[in-house]
């Protein structure tokens, strides 16, 4: 069992992985480092949708809307008020989270496909609102140009490598946070709601609140991903936050395995990195993608890396207590 192997043996794979993660920009060229940055942004997006779709089973097919809200909030506040982008990271998260939280009021009780249709609608509303250039803020179909760069304590994020470290450092922290949430009473409540709402409520879980919390947190995280995206792309336009983007995010969670953090990372990699490797067959990309989806759903519906549920050692397993209980049972 894992408990018997020495600590260094268990930590070794993680240390090696972290070493590889940090040194990647030194190994790879600028192009692949750039690919890794976008891969990272999709990992954040995938993990954010995983909170909603994977952990709680809410069919959110409009996740790109929250991504867009975060990106546009960052660009608008940076351009008009010159607020440092790094300070806009939490602002974008709060903004997207707030919009999501308000939306949960009328929609969170909807089940399955009904919620899916409504979230598609939300995605469209956001896209069209951005195109319509309300109050001259969003720049219409042309979008916005962000001139500022991210600065953290005097370190300016300029090169692909800088971006890479920033995004992946965020992901490492995020994964730790998400694993802790998964293993907590909140993460458990989400899973109970996903499996059976009636039984979850009978166990005293406030189903509505549990769903609203996951929806809001997931949207906030997508908003934060929007900040990274805006800072990296520097030009953002409505077409980056359309329905098909939401579909790709949905596919990442389903392909990876609902509720599985490593699954989401693998699936985001498959969707972002494989097309780069298959540049030569660029016309057939969507064909491969579609075929892969069909095959996956037939042969491995649980996902590439299904979530290993929170198997956990029980606190105490002293033989005498066990024996005592057994004696008691027999009497």
């Amino acid at each position: 069992m894992a408990a018997n192997t020495p600590a260094w043996r268990r930590l070794l794979p993680n240390v090696l992985l972290l070493g590889l993660l940090i040194s990647f920009p030194f190994i790879a060229d600028a192009y692949w480092t750039d690919v890794a940055v976008f891969f990272g942004i999709y990992v954040i997006l995938g993990l954010s949708l995983n909170l909603i779709l994977g952990e709680v089973g809410l069919f959110n097919m409009g996740h790109a809307a929250f991504f867009g809200i975060g990106a546009y909030l960052t660009a608008i506040l940076s351009i008009n008020f010159g607020i440092p982008i790094i300070l806009l990271l939490p602002v974008a998260a709060l903004g997207a989270g707030l919009v999501a939280w308000i939306l949960t009021g009328p929609i969170i009780h909807l089940r399955g496909d009904y919620l899916l249709i409504v979230t598609i609608g939300i995605n469209e509303i956001v896209r069209i609102a951005l195109i319509n250039n309300p109050f001259g803020l969003t720049g219409g179909p042309n979008g916005l140009l962000l001139l500022q760069r991210i600065e953290i304590f005097g370190w300016t994020v300029r090169t692909p490598a800088d971006f890479y470290w920033l995004v992946w450092a965020f992901i490492v922290v995020l994964i730790i946070v998400l694993i802790r949430l998964q293993n907590s009473r909140i993460g458990r409540a989400w899973n109970y709601v996903r499996e059976d709402e009636v039984a979850a409520a009978a166990m005293g879980i406030n189903v509505r609140n549990a769903k609203a919390l996951a929806f809001t947190l997931g949207a906030a995280l997508a908003g934060a991903a929007g900040t990274f995206y805006a800072a990296k792309m520097r030009i953002i336009s409505p077409e980056s936050f359309v329905f098909s983007e939401s579909v790709i995010l949905f596919a990442i969670v389903i392909l990876g395995g609902m509720g599985s953090i490593p699954g989401v990372i693998v699936a985001a990699g498959a969707i972002m990195v494989l097309p780069e490797l298959l540049r030569g067959f660029v016309e057939y990309r969507m064909l491969f993608f579609g075929a892969a989806m069909v095959l996956m759903m037939i042969f491995r519906p649980q996902g590439l890396w299904p979530s290993k549920r929170w198997a956990r050692k029980l606190s105490i397993e002293e033989p005498e207590t066990a024996a005592a209980v057994e004696l008691e049972e027999k009497e």
Binding site: R185, R188, A202, M203, V207, S315
Partner: protein, 264 residues
């Protein structure tokens, strides 16, 4: 002392009155059983008490406070644990994970506490798992703690539902046909377990078809027919109640019917 009482409880589904003007009590520390022929409204009563359905009339009080039409999760938090007639386990999760769900209302960690892992949160998690472990042992399922609930034997799933409800540390445990689909040995085991739960100070409310089981363990029986109470009392009293006999055996059998006519 009365733990749970309904007064004039009524529930309608469209034109059908499933429960009509029901007065019904559960005494603290008892095993009270609700029986009746199919379609008598037993499960509806359960679902109204536990907040799955809203009552159309009347009131329900639990430990002295009015719980009529409270939300399902709030009623659970007040200390009513339940099982389901058609098992509703969290099928892909393990037995232990299922039972831990009962402790949700007994723990309080929020998002921040869970992420940071505050000492209070860690202590709470240890307690949560300790209670779950105790409940699993009590139901004799500890060895199967890491087995996925959906893959367990039917009888074990029944007991797992009880373990999960016990993890709520309820004052009242509501069992909806716990013996359905059990073989005689398993039913006997269930009787023993339910008695033991009562002896721990947890009041038990039981819906059951198996009359043998009810007569064996219930302290008090209420009989429903077409949503109305037609009799109540100790198992012996109920068994000799003519209206109950009529409801259960029917009156279309001539041999049974003739002596009754002769009396009249």
């Amino acid at each position: 002392m009365t733990l749970l009482a309904t007064e004039g409880l009524t529930k309608k589904f469209g034109g059908l009155t499933a429960v009509a003007d029901l007065d019904f009590r559960v005494e603290s520390g008892s095993i009270t059983s609700l029986i009746g022929p199919n379609g008598a409204g037993k499960t509806t009563v359960f679902n109204v008490i536990t907040g799955v359905y809203k009552a159309d009339g009347g009131s329900i009080s639990f430990v002295g406070s009015d719980i009529t039409n409270m939300k399902q999760h709030a009623i659970a938090a007040m200390g009513i644990g339940r099982t389901f007639q058609n098992l509703r386990l969290f099928a892909p999760l393990t037995a232990l994970e299922n039972v831990v769900s009962g402790q949700h209302t007994r723990s309080h960690a929020g998002v921040f506490g869970s992420i940071v892992g505050t000492p209070a949160q860690r202590r709470e998690e240890r307690e949560v798992y300790a209670v779950a472990e105790r409940c699993l042992r009590q139901m004799g399922l500890f060895e199967q703690r890491d087995v996925v609930a959906g893959g367990m034997a039917h009888g074990d799933q029944r007991r797992l539902e009880i373990a999960r409800a016990l993890a709520l540390e309820p004052k009242l445990l509501v069992l909806d046909e716990p013996a359905a689909g059990l073989n005689p040995n398993e039913t006997e085991e269930l009787v023993r377990l339910v008695r033991k739960i009562r002896d721990q100070g947890i009041t038990v409310l039981l819906i059951e078809h198996d009359m043998g089981l009810v007569m064996e363990i219930a302290d008090h029986v209420t009989v429903l027919e077409n949503g109305r109470k037609i009799g109540e009392g100790t198992p012996a009293e109920v068994q000799s109640n003519e209206r109950v006999i009529e409801a259960y055996l029917g009156v279309d059998d001539e041999e049974d019917f003739e002596p009754a006519e002769a009396v009249a």
